[in-house]
């Protein structure tokens, strides 16, 4: 089971889809050139394909054995991690003052997709470390930054993100881990966290935990939560490792997939309290955590893209080799590769189209983040930030939902072999399933989209997004290209469904919140289908306009329009009509 980084697709999605070329031309990224970006992508692709991807099955079969409080990572992982981090990949988009390379988020997004495609379990740890870097950069005081940031940026140490407790999953405000003030300005942390990704491992000599906890006098709920940095080993003034801190892994979970990623239960304060350092202000931990989580949510979306790409490559390779049956024009003595059968072609095109659409959404999100940080114009920064905020839950949930669907189609393309672990499709199917759950379940993303993101700036963010999509439809339409079939009509239908559903939700948020919440998940799906589809068309047309060979991209965009975007009408109906039947069906769930 190999992975070859799809550099042409990624390049096209970056340049034409996320408009990186024009951003570079307008000077958004200083003296960065597209040649540099291309060189970065080629090297990332090489490492993903040659160094990381071969470890993926090893991780699945070996797992992360836990003994005497320590986790052993699978054979070869330590060496691969060392090669990866010394290549500078961990700090690709981190600030230069801490040793990062300050490349665009959108370039890091493309690389993240490749790490995730190569091995979700491997890339899980770096993903959280990058989130930790963001939180510490944005909210940490100078001393914390000086002590920890450079080593986190370089990946010499890794970071964790610790929110979840047994009674506090989606409802983070219910967490009980305690933090007590100590005279020296530090804090004593006591409590238990569960489902902690890379909570313990042997890849790095120190692990820096970012922990949400509650002060004794904190107000209830999310307004009483503070963020603490809790190192596994305390750090001496000279930067060397000091005493072991009072935090330890208690156990490692036995999971459906990502077996190479250790998921730990963590105990703080068994021996009196773990030493922690406040990040940001007391009781303002949620804001810090959101910095970390927004980045992580986009990264999890990219897991969805990466795993979908991997599943598609594997299924395509199988479908080009495997011979079964004949197509209509074939003599009885021959047999066809199964890719020739229309039903198999439908599965493969669906896989590819959904993967490309999710990629387009994720890269657009990252580019909006870049603009929100780098534009010289404050108004553009503000608009871009709103757009990034709007797109983030869609990038996370749509991409991971389609990651699961594509992985499942990948199993199906393989027929019986898909169910055999050695063939690899089954592992992808198992691995993909987590991404819809962690970093905020996809239901939570949908609720975030509907209740927080739609009303942003009085609805102007979503209005401007829909305008963007309408412009794309108008451009497709103006092209008047008969080979596009129903493309402009079906994308137009999808965007208008999105517009009407948006209006309906905005109108019901205040007066009938439950009705709006009932439609949140189908709305996010509609948003993703309309946006991803239109972005595909934009990308194909942009390539076509520049004289690049764009036939494959135009064909994929048409396939999306006529076979997938046509679901929009049904989703709109579900959103605007479905709530009463949902709210009145409690009896159907009682027994």
């Amino acid at each position: 089971m190999t992975y070859r980084a799809p550099l042409a697709d990624i390049g096209s999605a970056l340049k034409h889809g996320a408009a990186l070329s024009s951003a570079i031309e307008e000077g958004l990224f200083g003296d960065l050139t597209m040649d540099v970006v291309d060189a970065v992508l080629v090297e990332a692709g090489r490492i993903a394909g040659e160094v990381i991807a071969p470890l993926n099955r090893v991780g699945d079969t070996y797992g992360t054995p836990f003994k005497d409080g320590t986790v052993t990572t699978p054979p070869g992982w330590k060496e691969a991690y060392h090669a990866w981090r010394t290549g500078g990949w961990n700090g690709l988009s981190a600030p230069t003052e801490w040793g990062g390379q300050a490349l665009p988020h959108v370039v890091n997004a493309a690389c993240t997709e490749m790490w995730q495609a190569a091995s979700m379990a491997f890339a899980d740890g770096p993903m959280l470390t990058m989130g930790a870097v963001d939180a510490l950069s944005a909210h940490g005081n100078e001393q914390l930054k000086r002590t920890y940031l450079q080593k986190l940026v370089s990946g010499e140490w890794m970071g964790t993100m610790q929110l979840t407790e047994p009674q506090a999953g989606s409802d983070v405000g219910a967490l009980r881990t305690r933090a007590e003030r100590v005279d020296d300005g530090s804090y004593r942390i006591k409590g238990q966290k569960i489902f902690i990704t890379y909570g313990e491992h042997d890849l790095t000599p120190n692990i820096i935990h970012f922990v949400l906890a509650r002060l004794p006098d904190a107000p209830p709920g999310t307004r009483g939560i503070s963020l603490f940095l809790v190192p596994k080993f305390l750090v001496n003034d000279d930067g060397s490792l000091g005493a072991r801190n009072d935090v330890r892994a208690h156990s490692v979970e036995h999971k459906l997939g990502i077996h190479g990623s250790p998921t730990c239960t963590m105990i703080f304060g068994d021996a009196g309290g773990a030493t922690g350092f406040l990040v940001g202000e007391e009781n303002a931990g949620m804001a810090c955590m959101f910095t970390m989580m927004n980045q992580a949510r986009l990264a999890v979306g990219l897991q969805g893209v990466g795993i979908a790409e991997r599943a598609t490559q594997l299924a395509l390779a199988y479908a080009r080799e495997r011979r079964q049956g004949r197509v209509a024009t074939m003599p009885a003595s021959q047999s066809a590769t199964i890719i020739a059968h229309p039903d198999v072609k439908r599965m493969l095109l669906t896989m590819r189209a959904l993967t490309h659409a999710a990629r387009a959404i994720c890269y657009a999100t990252a580019m909006a983040l870049d603009r929100s940080e780098r534009s010289a114009d404050a108004a553009i920064r503000k608009t871009a930030l709103a757009h990034a905020s709007l797109l983030t839950p869609v990038a996370k949930a749509f991409s991971t939902d389609i990651g699961i669907e594509v992985a499942s189609l990948g199993v199906q393309v393989h027929g019986g072999m898909g169910y055999i672990e050695e063939a690899g499709a089954a592992q992808i199917f198992r691995d993909a399933r987590i991404a819809a759950i962690y970093e905020g379940t996809n239901g939570i993303q949908a609720i975030d989209l509907v209740t927080r993101k739609l009303p942003l700036d009085g609805g102007t963010a979503v209005a401007s997004h829909i305008r963007e999509l309408r412009d794309i439809v108008a451009t497709v339409n103006a092209g008047n290209d008969p080979t596009l079939g129903w493309t402009p009509v079906r994308f137009g239908d999808a965007v208008e469904s999105l517009a009407r559903a948006t209006e309906w939700l905005l109108g019901h948020l205040d007066k009938d919140a439950d009705a709006a919440l009932a439609g949140a998940t189908p709305y996010l799906r509609l948003f993703g289908m309309a946006t991803g589809g239109c972005y595909l068309a934009r990308q194909a047309l942009a390539a076509h306009r520049l004289g690049e060979e764009a036939g494959a991209r135009l064909a994929l965009s048409r396939f999306f329009a006529e076979n997938l975007a046509v679901q929009a009408g049904g989703l709109e109906r579900t959103i605007v009509e479905g709530a009463p039947s949902l709210m009145s069906a409690d009896a159907a769930l009682a027994d």
Copy 2:
């Protein structure tokens, strides 16, 4: 992880959905009474829930170790199998002359659903044995029947179904296993079969293999295939076991799920040739195999229903216990069970609605089979057989597709716990995945539906089916019940979409077969959604008319109409408009 047989739902689906009550009243099943049926269901539910269900996780973790050619089944399985077969369950619908109870197929279908819900891996073996009984009853000569049928009916011996070879999966005509005539009238079988469910195990002292093979002078393709009965141990004239036959398991697969079900590679004729006995005529093996497979396809559909029911029960139990967050009306100090959140309610209702719809389709298929065998009127028998043939691929593929979707939603309802193996939702997700693959992939089912079943009797079978659905819509409409909301409109839309798509496919089958094939899978989905939805409404209204408490069923049927059946329009578009974009997108799959 427990399973409680949903006897009220099953009873309602049998009586009102599949109209078992009226069939009994009109005397279709002799002196059978509904009381007897109810007693059978209660006892089956008890065994499924108390005897089989507790073995499901044992089977998953223990697997089926293979050593020195023998398979050890998981602890407790032998005892449970013995209890099950001595209860007479294996022969529930088998002919009385061979020790069966000759109960209706539809009652056996309900029981099969329960065995499958309790443990797919456990029920896999009996499922194939029942198929073997059908094939042997229908096509075997008297001597074979006398020697084998009683023991297969009683379950004292189990049967296997051996079609697949490495180069012959969906394309069974490509098989190469050889059969040579021997002077005594028997045959020598040589070859290799793969993916053989329960090919070797220790549950019964003998295993009777039903093997497709090719005679030396056989015509190529499926017209040159013959069916042979190949016992693991030859049987002496007095019925005692004789010599070991030259057939053995070579290995057992390492699979994504159903770990308790041994999937074997089988070798025939290592020592000169396995002794086999012809079933039916030479070169007429496919017809025999279809007898076995049609039954097995319906049974696999019931696996989908069973696993969906199991997933729903587990998710519901979790959602009623797990507390997270608050609903709108709740003070900050309280927290709600997650079932109260609209988004979770949507998942659970979707699970339940799809499960009930698939059940309704499967039971209707079984009832059509019963009518095709038992009606006194030849015309009715013929019509019923055509209806059963039409519905079988839908029962198989729609039910197993929704089995996977419901299992995935079940994981999602659990949040992080869903990904932890101990919670059980993950096993269901893994187990469910196979059912869309074996007994003919769901793509093959869709092609069967479109290319073989739609044209049946010049299209009259599907026309009569659509008439049946229109009658249901008319009845819902005539009820004029405002609590049903858009139910009649949305089901009406779905049925008309089905009607138009059917007409389009029938019109294109001859002149543009690829275009028809391209729409096969979305067509089967549309067929399942329209049929399953309407059947739910019919069942709810029938219960209502009889004065039963039908509020929950009416509410579920409305939820289906307004939230799920609304996908019909998009599916229709895909079928009638999507083929050109699919056929012209080869470039998008080349790289």
